[in-house]
């Protein structure tokens, strides 16, 4: 009987189709959440574990502000999900060497991190969080070395023996930087992808980025220089000028200072920043609270949906993420059938997953239940976009704008619908309006594309260069680089 039952189960699975194994019920149980400094942490762990992670983030914020000399204000809500369940991790692509990732949408910043060994989880969480913080500089061309160096420096922040320690060195990194010697800084600052991210150069680039940040962080002068560099970039100063203004010395001098610092590290000098928690303002997170299953499904579904929509725009999703979003949001709706927003999100997920009928039913129900909810109108616009119904999409996004004219997502959606309909001028206006209210890399790509077409080269470069330089830019970064090449190509006679 047993072989026959197994065979039957396999047939059923094949017939219903499955982009991935269905979620085991316990995967969504036992979650806790806590908010600190406008960041919501939702973790697949105990209340104590969750609060400890919030405490690490609060310590990070305080240490970052203390060492860099200022805070980078939030530009929207931030949600970080920490996942322990191995099946769920796999579905969120937290495997095969990927321990975490972060991305910014018009509706907020999102991050997924695997919940494993506490030290490792903390490293990944703080690394990704640094990227999210730097992504708040919407108009800055933050160079790759700075982004990665700062993230690698702050990822090892830890409470130890009554103090907050920043900048401890991992054994691997020390061995790497000492054995391989640092990359010349002129190359690190100015080299393109080819010169810095090929073969062994990748690890040299990352190790040198970290070492330079580590060196500069050791003294008030170095910290002032880093802070100045970031401030200059944030106000739009071109990279080379920002470097001149901040570091004010030639590359060979900086190279030789770095070599001396690495020599100290090689001799075991404890070059770390040790801060007294009593002397820096660390927010005390409240106790973590249990999160009901439906809410876990809604939060994770929202992340999967955002990830899926971004991937779908760039043809990166193989269907796994959109099917995960559908599954999670289906659970959210089943747990709370009265939530129009959950229903609207499910409609978006189904549209993404290619289920046009299911999507239509879900969005119609959500619109009947809450026609005056901007999130529902936005979802209806996105569903219409997915269904190639540009007229309906425009109408829905205009309704969303009527409800909240400060919604960047509504202006972005309207811009996409207009661009699809061939009205480039109105689309450009809508994207520009969205850009004043928020930021996301797909928005900059779309806007950049229209600016390239309009031959507004300087404005296009300002938007596309940071995307092309983003170390985690993926397909968007590549497309931005292609558009920049197009821009630089000689005009046809």
């Amino acid at each position: 009987m047993r072989p026959r039952a197994t065979a039957l189960a396999l047939v059923v699975l094949c017939v219903i189709g499955c982009a991935g194994p269905r979620l085991a019920r316990p995967a969504l149980d036992g979650w806790h959440s806590v908010s600190v400094n406008d960041i919501r942490i939702i973790a697949n762990g105990t209340a104590e574990e969750t609060r400890a992670l919030a405490r690490d983030l609060a310590g990070f914020d305080a240490a970052f502000a203390f060492l860099i000399g200022r805070q980078i204000p939030a530009t929207g809500p931030t949600t970080i999900a920490l996942i322990r369940d191995s099946g769920l991790k796999h579905r969120f692509r937290l495997d095969r060497g990927t321990l975490g990732y972060a991305f910014t949408t018009l509706d907020g910043s999102l991050s997924c991190v695997g919940l494993d060994h506490p030290g490792q989880t903390r490293h990944v969480l703080l690394h990704e969080y640094t990227h999210l913080l730097l992504a708040r500089h919407h108009d800055a061309r933050v160079p790759r070395w700075y982004n990665e160096g700062l993230a690698s420096f702050f990822e090892t922040l830890a409470y130890r023996d009554g103090a907050l320690v920043v900048g401890a060195i991992t054994s691997d990194r020390l061995v790497g930087v000492v054995k391989r010697k640092p990359m010349p800084l002129a190359k690190m600052f100015g080299g393109d992808r080819e010169a810095t991210l090929r073969g062994q150069l990748i690890s040299d680039f990352y190790a040198t980025s970290w070492a330079l940040i580590h060196y500069l962080m050791q003294t008030p002068k170095g910290r002032r220089e880093l802070s100045r560099f970031e401030r200059e970039l944030a106000k739009g100063t071109p990279l080379e000028q920002a470097r001149e203004a901040a570091f004010a010395r030639p590359f060979p001098q900086l190279d030789s200072e770095l070599a001396v610092h690495i020599g100290y590290l090689a001799h075991g000098v404890a070059a770390v920043s040790v801060l007294d928690p009593k002397q820096i303002a660390i927010a005390e997170p409240p106790a973590a609270v249990p999160v009901p299953r439906g809410e876990v499904a809604r939060e994770l579904g929202a992340i999967a949906l955002a990830l899926g929509e971004e991937s779908a725009d760039e043809a990166e999703d193989d269907g796994g993420i959109s099917s995960l979003a559908s599954e999670l949001l289906g659970i959210a709706v089943a747990e709370d059938p009265t939530s129009a927003r959950a229903g609207a999100a499910l409609a978006r997920a189904r549209a993404l997953d290619g289920d046009a009928d299911g999507s239509g039913e879900a969005i119609a129900a959500a619109l009947r239940a809450a026609p005056g909810d901007v999130q529902v109108q936005l979802a209806a616009g996105r569903v219409a976009l997915a269904a190639q119904d540009d007229g309906e999409a425009q109408a829905r996004f205009r309704s969303a704008i009527a409800l909240d004219e400060r919604s960047p997502s509504a202006w972005y959606g309207l811009g996409r619908a207009l661009a699809r309909a061939g009205d480039a001028k109105s689309a450009l206006e809508a994207f520009t309006r969205a850009r004043r209210l928020g930021w996301s890399s797909p928005l900059d790509l779309e806007l950049g594309r229209l600016l390239v077409a309009a031959r507004r080269a300087d404005e296009a470069r300002a938007l596309l260069q940071p995307l092309a330089a983003d170390p985690h830019g993926g397909a968007i970064g590549k497309k931005a680089a292609e558009l920049l090449e197009e821009l630089d190509a000689p005009a046809e006679p």
Partner: protein, 235 residues
């Protein structure tokens, strides 16, 4: 034979004459672990356990222990270094340090404990250093022969890792109330990593950080060897 081997790998702990057994010392002032010696980031979570176990060892020997936090330890040591440099005698830093501590705390001697990370030579997964013998743990060891061309992974699965690997030792420095160095010792603790053979078919194993904070028995053994003969190890 086993006793002989253990004796052979004993560390050369150095003690000033007349200090074996720490005569007349009741109250120790302890600096936070790794105040002046760099601690790799991956071991930062281990110092809490080290404090607890050193504390327990001192109490076992009937001594009192008072700990400084890391911030104060580093600040006071940095001040002492600056003062010593000003006098042109950097090697006198411990004396300046002890003098400053004496103004602030009541104690008979100062202990500076640290975790050291260094390379040791492993043969078939085993290595001996600083008074201990350890066998590296193999995780996800294939239940069946690996087969195919993966003879390297097969060898690791059968015999263990051979080569230079990272290991930890406990290191202690003891200073008198006036900053005179009266003892320096070290005791082997554990390998930093386990070898994970989950991907054995890709011709290799991966090192995974061990939960050193939870390896209390190995840590206690290392502490006892590191303190011997100042506070002698008890069989």
């Amino acid at each position: 034979m086993a006793l002989g081997c253990a004796y052979f790998s004993r560390p050369d702990n150095v003690i000033a004459p007349g200090h074996a057994g720490a005569p007349g010392v009741k109250r120790f002032l302890l600096c936070a672990p790794n105040t002046v010696i760099a601690l790799p980031a991956e071991l930062q979570d281990v110092t809490g356990s080290l404090r607890e176990q050193v504390d327990a060892y001192l109490h076992f020997h009937g001594r009192q222990a008072q700990w400084l936090n890391l911030y104060d330890s580093r600040r006071l040591w940095a001040e002492a270094t600056a003062a010593a440099k000003q006098k042109g005698a950097v090697d006198k830093t411990p004396a300046f340090f002890a003098e400053r501590l004496d103004q602030l705390y009541d104690f008979d001697a100062i202990i500076m404990p640290s975790l050291l990370v260094h390379k040791v030579r492993a043969t078939d997964g085993g290595a001996a250093w600083d008074g201990v013998d350890r066998q590296m743990q193999l995780l996800n060891k294939p239940a069946r022969p690996i087969g195919g061309q993966d003879t390297f992974a097969e060898g690791v699965a059968q015999g263990g890792v051979t080569g230079d690997v990272l290991a930890t030792s406990v290191h202690v420095l003891v200073f008198s109330r006036t900053g005179e160095r009266i003892f320096e010792g070290r005791g082997g603790f554990a390998f930093v990593h386990d070898a994970d053979m989950a991907n054995a078919k890709k011709w290799s194993y991966q090192f995974r950080i061990r939960d050193l904070a939870g390896d209390i028995d190995a840590m206690r053994e290392g502490i006892a060897i590191a303190f011997d003969p100042y506070l002698p190890e008890v069989d």
